[in-house]
C-alpha cells in the first residue's frame, strides 16, 4: 500500500557520476536520432528528442542537481553538432535547448506540488500545457533568432518548424522516459505473462503497420495522409491498456518510423510532397498524442478510483468480520481474539509492528498488551515510560502521530529518542474510546521511513479501534459483574449461615457440655483425692480433649463456608462433600422432623472444582429440600440425596424432597435471581448455585419428583475433562 516515491528518489539517490554518464549517453543517442530526422539543409529536425530527454531528466532529479544534468549533456551536444555547425551556433542552440527543458521542468514542478506522475487529468493537463506547449513555444523564439541570423533561413519558418517538432518530442519522449525509469524501478516485474504477450503483439502490430506503409501496396491509395488512419487503432489500444507511458512509447516509435520514412522519401512520400507530408504527420501525431494521453489519464483516474473503492471494500469486509467475531464472544476468549485480529489488521495494512495496550483503573498504561513484534521476542516496550508525551496527549486529543525527525512539538523529545532507540521512523497512537472513556491504545510503528498517517488511513484506524474498544468495555463489564456476583455469593453464604447459626450453636453446645461436665467432675475427684479415681481422671482428660477438638472442627467448618474464596481448582470427592453437608444439616433436619437419606454411589468419579463453592451448592439444595419437606403434611417427610455415575452423566447428583413440589411451569424460573417462594429469603441461592455449576462445566435443572415433591439435579464433568480458566483482571 505504500508506493515507493521513485521520482525524487531516482535523481536524489544515484551517484553523481553515474547520473552524469547516463544523461550524457542518453542525450547522445537522442541527438543522433534527431539529427537523422532532418531535411537538410534545414537546421531544425522534424523530431528533436534531446530537449525532451533533458526535460524528463530534470523532472526526475531534485532541483539542487539540475546543474549537473545540464552540464552532463554539454559534451554530447558539442561532439555531435560541432561537426555540422559553428561554435557560436552550437552554443546558442544548447542554450535554447536547455532553456526549453528548464521552462518545461520548472513550470511543471512549480504548478504541481506532487512528484511527477501522469496519473491524473490535472497532472496531465499541467504537463501538456506547460511542458509540451508553453516551453517549446517560448524557447523557439531565441532559437529561431540564432538559426535565422547565422544560417540565412527565414525566421518564422524556423520558428514554425521548431515549435511543431519540439511539441511532438516533448509529448512523445517525456512519458517514455518516465516509463523507462519505472521499468528500472522494477515495475515491469509485476507484469504477468498475459500482459507481456499483449505488449509484444502491440509492438509487432506497430512494426507491421510501419512496414506496410513503407511498402506502399497497390490496394492502398497513394495519398500520404492515409498512414495516419492506419496507426490510430494501435495507438488507441496502447492508450487504454498501457497508460500514458504506453501511448508515448508507441507514439515515439510511430513518429520515428513515419517521419524517418518521410524525410528519406520512402513509402507514400515522394520528394515533392515530403515537406507537406511531414507537416501533416506531425500535426496528426500531436493531436492524437494530446487526445490519447488525456483519455489515458482519465482512464487511469477511473482505475485508481476503482482500486481505492476495492481497497475500501476489502477493509470494510475485514472490519465487519472483526465486529462479527466480537459479538457475543465469551470474555474468556477475548484475549486470544484480540491477538488474532491485531495480526489480521497488521497484515491488511502491511505493517510489521502493531501493539494493543490497555489502561488500568488509574489510567496508567499497559495493564496487558498484545503485539506483533515478531522479529525480536525480547523487545519489550514500556509505553508509559518511553512515550510519556504521546500517551498523555492521546487521552484528550485523539490520534497522535510521532516521527523521529525534528519537526515535533516541544515536550516530545523523550518520545522521539525512544523511537530512534528502537529503530523506528514513525508511530501513530490511536485511543480506544468507548462511551467517552479511554480504555486503551493501539500503537502502530513503521521502521523504515516516515509515514504521513493521512486522514483516510486514520479514519480506518479509528473505526477498527472503535470495534476493539467496545469489545474491551464489554470484557471489563463482565469482569466487574463477576466480581460483584462473587461478592453477592459471599453475602448469601453469610445469610445462609445465619439460618444455620441456631443449629450450629447446638452442634457446638454438645461437645461444650461434655467438656464442662467432665471438667467439673474432675474437680470433684481432685477435691476428694481418692486414689482409685485416678483412672477416671485419665478418661476424663481424654474425653475433654476429644470434645474440644470436635468443637474446633465445627467452628472450622463454619469458617470454611464463610470464607470468601477465590476460585480454586482441586479434585473434589462429591460423596464426601455430601456427607459433610449432611452432618451440618443433621440438627436442622431434626428440628424440622424430616429424615435425611443418603444414597451415594461408590463409583462416582471425582470432580475438578472449588470445594467450598460446590459444598455451598449442595448445602443450598439440601436446605431447600428440608424446608420444602417440612412444610408439607405428607408423611413420611424425607429428603433423599443421591449420587450416581453412568454413561449419560459422568457425575449425577440429585436431591429429592417430599414437599409440595414446584409450581407448574416454573422449572426454569426457579434458577433466576430474586425468585423465591419463601417469606423471608433473597431468592439468590439457586441463581448462585447455577452460576457455580455452570462455571464448573456442568448443568443444573429442576423437575417434579416421583412423589409429587421437587427434584433438583446437577451433573458435572469428571476430572479428566479440561475446564477453561476465566480471564481475571
Amino acid at each position: 500500500m505504500e508506493r515507493r516515491d521513485f521520482s525524487t528518489q531516482f535523481g536524489a539517490t544515484s551517484h553523481p557520476v553515474v547520473l552524469a554518464v547516463l544523461v550524457c549517453a542518453a542525450y547522445y543517442a537522442a541527438a543522433v536520432v534527431g539529427l537523422a530526422l532532418r531535411f537538410p539543409p534545414a537546421t531544425t529536425s522534424v523530431l528533436w528528442p534531446p530537449n525532451a530527454l533533458l526535460t524528463a531528466m530534470l523532472l526526475f532529479t531534485p532541483t539542487r542537481r539540475w546543474w549537473l544534468v545540464l552540464l552532463a549533456a554539454l559534451p554530447a551536444h558539442l561532439v555531435l553538432e560541432l561537426r555540422n555547425w559553428s561554435t557560436v551556433v552550437v552554443a546558442g542552440l544548447f542554450a535554447t535547448n536547455c532553456s526549453e527543458a528548464l521552462l518545461a521542468a520548472g513550470g511543471v514542478r512549480l504548478l504541481s506540488r506532487e512528484p511527477f506522475r501522469l496519473g491524473t487529468v490535472r497532472q496531465m493537463a499541467i504537463f501538456i500545457g506547460v511542458a509540451a506547449l508553453f516551453a517549446p513555444l517560448v524557447s523557439s523564439f531565441p532559437d529561431a533568432a540564432v538559426v535565422s541570423s547565422f544560417h540565412s533561413e527565414r525566421y518564422w519558418d524556423v520558428w514554425n518548424r521548431r515549435v511543431v517538432s519540439n511539441v511532438l518530442s516533448e509529448l512523445a519522449v517525456v512519458p517514455t522516459v518516465a516509463g523507462a525509469i519505472g521499468v528500472a524501478a522494477g515495475s515491469l516485474w509485476r507484469w504477468r505473462g498475459r500482459r507481456w504477450m499483449e505488449a509484444s503483439v502491440l509492438f509487432a502490430g506497430l512494426v507491421a503497420t510501419a512496414l506496410l506503409v513503407s511498402r506502399q501496396p497497390a490496394f492502398m491509395p497513394g495519398n500520404p495522409r492515409w498512414p495516419l488512419v492506419v496507426f490510430l487503432p494501435i495507438l488507441l489500444w496502447a492508450a487504454l491498456r498501457f497508460g500514458p507511458e504506453g501511448v508515448a512509447l508507441s507514439l515515439l516509435a510511430t513518429a520515428v518510423l513515419t517521419l524517418g520514412a518521410a524525410t528519406h522519401g520512402v513509402g507514400p512520400f515522394n520528394q515533392q510532397s515530403a515537406d507537406e507530408g511531414v507537416r501533416t504527420l506531425q500535426i496528426f501525431l500531436i493531436v492524437v498524442a494530446i487526445s490519447l494521453m488525456c483519455a489515458s489519464a482519465l482512464d487511469n483516474e477511473r482505475r485508481r478510483a476503482e482500486r481505492a473503492l476495492s481497497e475500501r471494500l476489502q477493509f470494510e469486509e475485514v472490519l465487519s468480520r472483526m465486529s462479527a467475531a466480537f459479538v457475543g464472544l465469551p470474555c474468556d476468549e477475548m484475549p486470544r481474539a484480540f491477538a488474532f485480529w491485531l495480526e489480521r489488521l497488521a497484515g491488511f495494512f502491511g505493517w510489521r509492528d502493531v501493539l494493543l495496550a490497555l489502561y488500568d483503573e488509574s489510567q496508567q498504561v499497559a495493564l496487558a498488551h498484545w503485539s506483533t513484534f515478531h522479529a525480536d521476542p525480547h523487545t519489550r516496550l514500556s509505553l508509559r515510560t518511553e512515550f510519556p508525551w504521546a500517551v498523555e496527549r492521546v487521552k484528550t486529543e485523539g490520534a497522535i502521530a510521532l516521527h523521529v525527525s525534528e519537526d515535533m512539538p516541544a515536550g516530545a523529545e523523550q518520545d522521539r529518542e525512544a523511537l530512534a532507540r528502537h529503530g523506528l521512523a514513525s508511530a501513530v497512537f490511536v485511543p480506544l474510546k468507548s462511551g467517552g472513556h479511554v480504555g486503551g491504545l493501539i500503537v502502530i510503528m513503521t521502521p523504515t521511513h516516515r509515514t504521513e498517517w493521512a486522514e483516510p488511513l486514520l479514519g480506518k484506524l479509528r473505526i477498527a479501534a472503535d470495534v476493539l474498544a467496545n469489545a474491551l468495555a464489554r470484557m471489563r463489564a463482565e469482569a466487574a459483574l463477576r466480581e460483584s456476583r462473587d461478592e453477592l455469593s459471599h453475602l448469601t453464604r453469610v445469610s445462609a449461615m445465619g439460618e444455620l447459626a441456631a443449629s450450629l450453636a447446638h452442634e457446638l453446645n454438645q461437645p461444650l457440655t461434655g467438656i464442662l461436665s467432665n471438667a467439673q467432675a474432675a474437680r470433684h475427684i481432685l477435691d476428694a483425692n481418692e486414689r482409685r479415681r485416678r483412672v477416671d481422671l485419665q478418661e476424663i482428660i481424654r474425653d475433654v480433649v476429644e470434645d474440644a477438638k470436635r468443637a474446633r472442627d465445627v467452628v472450622g467448618r463454619m469458617r470454611d463456608l464463610l470464607r470468601k474464596s477465590a476460585t480454586e481448582r482441586a479434585p473434589v470427592d462429591l460423596n464426601e462433600l455430601v456427607t459433610v453437608v449432611a452432618k451440618i444439616v443433621t440438627s436442622d433436619s431434626l428440628i424440622r422432623q424430616v429424615s435425611l437419606e443418603l444414597d451415594l454411589s461408590p463409583h462416582a468419579p471425582r470432580v475438578e472444582g472449588d470445594r467450598v463453592q460446590l459444598q455451598q451448592v449442595v448445602l443450598n439444595l439440601t436446605l431447600n429440600a428440608l424446608e420444602a419437606a417440612s412444610i408439607s403434611d405428607h408423611h413420611p417427610r424425607t429428603v433423599l440425596v443421591k449420587t450416581e455415575a453412568n454413561d449419560r452423566y459422568p457425575i449425577h447428583l440429585f436431591v429429592r424432597d417430599t414437599g409440595p413440589g414446584l409450581i407448574a411451569g416454573s422449572e426454569q424460573q426457579v434458577f433466576e435471581p430474586f425468585y423465591t417462594t419463601k417469606k423471608s429469603g433473597m431468592g439468590m441461592g439457586l441463581a448462585i448455585a447455577r452460576s457455580i455449576v455452570e462455571a464448573h462445566g456442568g448443568s443444573i435443572w429442576a423437575a417434579t419428583g416421583r412423589d409429587r415433591g421437587a427434584e433438583f439435579h446437577l451433573t458435572l464433568p469428571a476430572i479428566d475433562r479440561t475446564v477453561t480458566q476465566p480471564w481475571t483482571s
Binding site: 441456631a502 453446645n509 454438645q510 461436665s517 467432675a521
Partner: protein, 139 residues
C-alpha cells in the same frame, strides 16, 4: 438424704458421658440411654426420681417421649436439656410447672438445683394420679 436416681436420655455420647460422670461423682445414681425408644424398652420408670432428656433426637424427640409418658400417667419429673432455644420449647415449658428447661452447656450448680427442685415439686404433689398433679395440667 437418700441417693437420687436420675436417667439421662441424649443421643450425643459426649453429653451422656459428661453428665453421667458429673452426677455420679456428686453422689447420684445414674442410668443413661441413647434414645427414647431404648429407654422405653429397657428402663423401669419407677426406678427414677428424675429424667434428664435432650429435645432433639433422631426419630423420637424429647417432646414425643414426654407426651408419651404423661399420657401414660407417669408422674416422674422431667428436665429438658437443650442447646437450642426454640418456640416449641417455650410453649411447653410455660404449660407445666414440673417441666424445667436447661440450656447447654450448663453449670453443675444449675443442674443440681434443677434436679432438687424437680424432685421436691414432685414429692409435694405426691405420686398420686389425682387431678392436682402437674401432669393433668397439661393442655
Amino acid at each position: 438424704m437418700d441417693v437420687l436416681s436420675v436417667c439421662v436420655i441424649d443421643d450425643d455420647l459426649a453429653v451422656r458421658r459428661g453428665i453421667t460422670r458429673l452426677l455420679e461423682i456428686s453422689g447420684y445414681r445414674v442410668e443413661a440411654y441413647a434414645s427414647p425408644l431404648a429407654f422405653l424398652q429397657d428402663a423401669t420408670l419407677s426406678n427414677f426420681d428424675c429424667l434428664l432428656m435432650d429435645v432433639r433426637m433422631p426419630g423420637f424427640t424429647g417432646f414425643d417421649l414426654y407426651d408419651r409418658l404423661t399420657s401414660a400417667g407417669c408422674s416422674v419429673p422431667v428436665i429438658f436439656i437443650t442447646g437450642h432455644a426454640d418456640a416449641n420449647m417455650a410453649g411447653h415449658a410455660v404449660r407445666s410447672e414440673s417441666v424445667k428447661v436447661l440450656v447447654k452447656p450448663f453449670d453443675e450448680q444449675a443442674l443440681f438445683d434443677a434436679i432438687r427442685q424437680a424432685v421436691e415439686t414432685a414429692r409435694r404433689a405426691g405420686h398420686s394420679t389425682g387431678p392436682n398433679t402437674g401432669m393433668a395440667a397439661r393442655g
